[in-house]
């Protein structure tokens, strides 16, 4: 009886994952969708604890202990994290899921060697356990490296012939995995731990050379890896809800990764192999710096802004870091009350994650229709009086259109150079995240307004008010 009810619960859980994911892909229903999926997860977890065959009541203490510790830690860290650190947090949680799948494989392997003779282990189960172990380990370690990179704890490092080493290592791992599964050598247990260790190493080497600017794509990819690792668990236990949840995330995550790549006009291979920040950027970095930059102060900027008809604000990571979204909104409202038309130009990959700027500006109550996506705003720059670039760099770099040797060549950018005046707010002349020089700063129409985004915007608000 219990078993039948549990299957029904799993069915409801699976369907709620599908509905939740569907709702998550529309702005109006997204928040409810998240709750629907969370509901499905809750009943699946409770159902497993109380109805699954073979769960010993003597182990309830451990189960609830783990659930309570995890819930408290998870809620606290998720509530405490700042909006700017969301991407790192997602990566970290993803790593936890990968580690969970990895440990499940390790335990199930010992069960398997316990129940069968070495050399006569069932191939199918062993294959699933191995895949769960390899994918889970890569996802776990890779996510930790990605987290370290986004939070600035880990730099970009590339070994010589890194890509060859990586591919070689992956082939080697799969090779011994196949050998261990199908030939059934006497040292199966040793090989299992060797495969585990090498998978961890591969996880590090896989993410290490990829530039910080590409981390969102990598996190999305690792996210779908963890989905597949979870699905392996579904295979192992013949558990439909794990299978549905895992495969859904695996396929939706892969598509999402491709969509993100497309938004940057780059292919996935290009992201994974063409390492950002290395190669040609070294030489081209010095070439335009012969030009002159023009500095402007807050007072003059305020005058330009107040007497403009149309202003477009281009937000970037600098806005997020300085937590300047509220004062940015204040400036926008102030200018609007003076009769200036203000819009925001949202580049699909501005910030550290697609949609980063939308979330950030929505937080400070900027009206939704003021956020204009790149394709729609680009034709408007020619009729714009002042473009205010707040802490963005690579997404307005004309090198993406003009310099084939540039690592960001081919990425669609915001055509801010078509506007009458361009004011770039930056902390210093340092290069952006991709580590490349920006010619825009040396153009005669461009003025630089140096300082922290929040401080400078606050000054601008005061200056506009004083005029």
């Amino acid at each position: 009886m219990n078993k039948e009810i549990l299957q029904l619960i799993y069915l409801v859980g699976s369907v709620s994952f599908m509905i939740g994911l569907k709702m998550l892909s529309k702005p109006d229903t997204a928040r409810k969708g998240n709750l629907v999926a969370a509901f499905g997860m809750t009943i699946a977890i409770l159902g497993t604890i109380f109805l699954y065959d073979g769960i010993k009541t003597s182990n309830y203490g451990w189960i609830f202990g783990g659930l309570i510790i995890g819930s408290i830690l998870g809620t606290l860290s998720a509530k405490k994290v700042k909006m700017t650190q969301m991407p790192e947090m997602v990566s970290l949680f993803n790593g936890m899921g990968g580690a969970c799948a990895m440990l499940i494989s390790a335990v199930e392997f010992t069960h398997l060697t316990h129940n069968y003779e070495i050399g006569a282990l069932p191939h199918g189960q062993l294959l699933i356990i191995m895949l769960g172990l390899i994918i889970g380990s890569i996802s776990f370690v890779g996510s930790l490296v990605a987290w370290g990179k986004l939070s600035g704890r880990v730099g970009d490092k590339t070994l010589k012939l890194q890509q060859l080493v990586n591919i070689g290592l992956l082939v080697f791992i799969l090779g011994i995995a196949c050998y261990t599964i199908f030939a059934g050598p006497a040292e199966t247990v040793t090989y299992f731990y060797v495969i585990w260790g090498l998978s961890v190493l591969y996880g590090i080497l896989f993410v290490m050379p990829i530039g910080g600017a590409d981390m969102p794509v990598v996190i999305s990819l690792l996210n779908s890896f963890t989905g597949v690792a979870a699905a392996m668990g579904g295979f192992l236990y013949d558990n439909k809800v794990m299978l549905v949840g895992g495969i859904l995330v695996g396929s939706a995550g892969t598509l999402l990764t491709l969509v993100m790549c497309k938004a940057m006009n780059r292919s996935l291979t290009n992201v994974l192999i063409g390492n950002f920040g290395g190669g040609s950027s070294g030489e081209s970095a010095t070439s335009p710096s012969g030009g002159h930059i023009r500095e402007i102060n807050a007072g003059d900027t305020a005058i330009l802004l107040k007497y403009a008809n149309k202003v477009i604000i281009v937000p970037g990571y600098g806005l997020a870091v300085a937590q300047a979204q509220h004062v940015c909104h204040e400036l926008e409202e102030l200018l609007e009350s003076e009769g200036v038309g203000v819009k925001y130009a949202i580049h699909p990959v501005a910030g550290r994650m697609p949609g980063h700027m939308n979330v950030l500006l929505a937080e400070s109550n900027v009206s939704y229709d003021k956020l204009v996506e790149m394709e729609h705003i680009n034709p408007e720059f020619t009729t714009t009086d002042v473009v205010l670039v707040v802490g963005a760099n690579d997404v307005v770099n004309p090198a993406a259109k003009t310099d084939p040797s540039s690592p960001i060549y081919g990425m669609p950018i915001l055509d801010v150079e078509n506007a009458k005046n361009i004011i770039v707010m930056k902390r210093s002349m340092k290069a952006g995240y991709a580590g490349i020089e920006n010619e825009l700063f040396y153009q005669p129409k461009t003025s630089m307004l140096f300082g922290d985004a929040k401080g400078t915007l606050t000054k601008l608000v005061a200056e506009v008010k004083a005029l």
Binding site: N34, A99, G245
Partner: protein, 97 residues
């Protein structure tokens, strides 16, 4: 191998159908929602915790108990943290006019 596939043919069908469903579900998602959607999907693959609970619940050896306990904690972090972070991201959208 052939035998393995044949004896699990229902699951193979399920996997293939789910791949298509996953792709269909999030087609044409606006870029505004890329990050929350990724985060929501991240929470959903936390379903791996069910495996951890099964291991923990059936654990007899010390080894299984310790690893099972750790994996229940890790899985819960993934699920709870994932859903809460997603909700916080989406909270920002609710107040718009």
């Amino acid at each position: 191998m052939l035998e393995f596939i044949n004896s699990n043919i229902q699951i193979v069908y399920l996997v293939i159908l789910m791949i298509f469903v996953g792709v269909e579900l999030i087609e044409k998602v606006p870029s505004v929602l890329h990050t929350p959607l990724m985060s929501g999907a991240n929470a959903i693959h936390g379903v791996v915790i069910i495996g951890a609970i099964i291991i923990m619940g059936q654990a007899e050896s010390m080894f299984a108990t310790i690893l099972g306990f750790i994996s229940v904690i890790l899985g819960t972090l993934n699920v709870v943290g994932g859903f809460v972070v997603t909700d916080r991201m989406l909270e920002m959208f609710k107040k718009r006019k």
